[in-house]
Subunit: 144 residues, 4 copies
């Protein structure tokens, strides 16, 4: 399976701010879109397989470095990869590319598996062995 | 002048996600609210003194660590401080506190001064000596 | 009890668009803030009394007329009133006022009571007699 | 040219609320996406041809009726059509369809042409005869 998954989007007017460029938190929102797309491309529909079964993948850390601004109607590509994966944690990285391939932003998110309503980390292998098998089979650079 | 500025908000329904908690990019949006409030409390109205004069404070880096989730209608406090300030850059840090004083999240943003429409860093002292004088007088921990 | 409830907000940078004014869906979001504040001022905390008990007040219709644009850092007031209230439906109206009292926008929302996860209208009096008693005691212009 | 333009989107996690369904202002945001796509499909890139030339198409009225809720990862289609077009005003209508073709929501937006920074209605034919020629050639049901 592919180690990176690309998501193509067109920048929305509502994602931009009075400076005429994309408002920086919009990139963090795009990381969610790209991450769910990464999982879906590997056969894991987040809503059905996580949300509906009572397990949430919460974000514990986010970081983003902004390099080239974007404006509405630009076509962009978000390249997501899973850099680390354990029974309790995930770590993704993202490159946001402009249509000419230049780098607009680079970011990362770290995650924990938690139970709905509790927000207490769980060991996914114990909480849902079947889901863990599928997460463990995702292509990644490091595995704990 | 105060070295930290507190902004009190009530979490909005629309800032939360299907997990029932605040969607993580909302915190990054709150940092903007807190930062503009920090400047306003020190006599700098961002819209009038920066935006309207053609100088934008863009975000070059953002980071946030999420510790305790929040949900709609919670009363929170965002404590902002300027940790570094130079002719070309700013660096803010933020603590998001729950109503009981516990830490919900901690983050930071780094900024450059740019000219509208160009998005090319400028030396604020050269671009607007008057604005630089005011920025340079902000309370901060480090000054380059 | 007051027939109208005022909510005071400061326009956020992230609520504005590249035209330099508030992006129009932000007003619809403010209506939610004002509506939950209206209920809270009358002793009904939406999260605890509706959301946590499995009853959702969904929006079935929204309308807004935009009159004067707003920009970031403006201080506004949203005046909400409940114009109609029945066992199955609510109807709110909102005025968004600028700091000089002039009308920026006027809108309305219509709602139904539904059960979580089902999204099927319920008769609130049957679903939760206690909640119905409290809703029925809200000040309103019309009651069905 | 086509009288309706379809825009296909996948519902984003961040567009949903704690009720587990799309937060209602997100539909209003989608109308903007669909409207800009309608114009682009007819050869009018909004950013280049309106925004950059100092003319804004502001929203003066919005309305939406919500019929079937949506949740994250659903594939939807927004069908936009221009129902009225004059030298000073535009009027669009939108149907939001679920993947099985059922109607999730139906809405409309009304617009005026204004000059940047002034927010005063202009006669597009006088302000920009060339842009007016192109707008006047859009397929529509009524023309004033």
């Amino acid at each position: 399976m592919a180690e990176t998954v690309s998501t193509r989007l067109e920048v929305r007017w509502g994602e931009c701010d009075p400076a005429g460029i994309v408002y920086h938190p919009s990139f963090i929102d795009w990381f969610s879109v790209a991450r769910m797309h990464f999982l879906a491309e590997h056969g894991i529909q987040y809503m059905r397989e996580f949300h509906d079964t009572g397990i949430t993948i919460v974000v514990t850390d986010v970081a983003c470095k902004y390099i080239l601004p974007l404006r509405a109607e630009e076509h962009i590509e978000i390249v997501a990869k899973l850099v680390e994966c354990s029974r309790t944690r995930l770590h993704f990285e993202y490159d946001v590319l402009k249509s000419d391939g230049s780098l607009s932003a680079r970011g990362s998110t770290r995650h924990a598996f938690v139970k709905h309503g509790v927000i207490q980390p769980v060991n996914l292998q114990k909480a849902s062995p079947e889901l863990w098998t599928r997460i463990a089979s995702l292509p990644t650079l490091a595995r704990a």
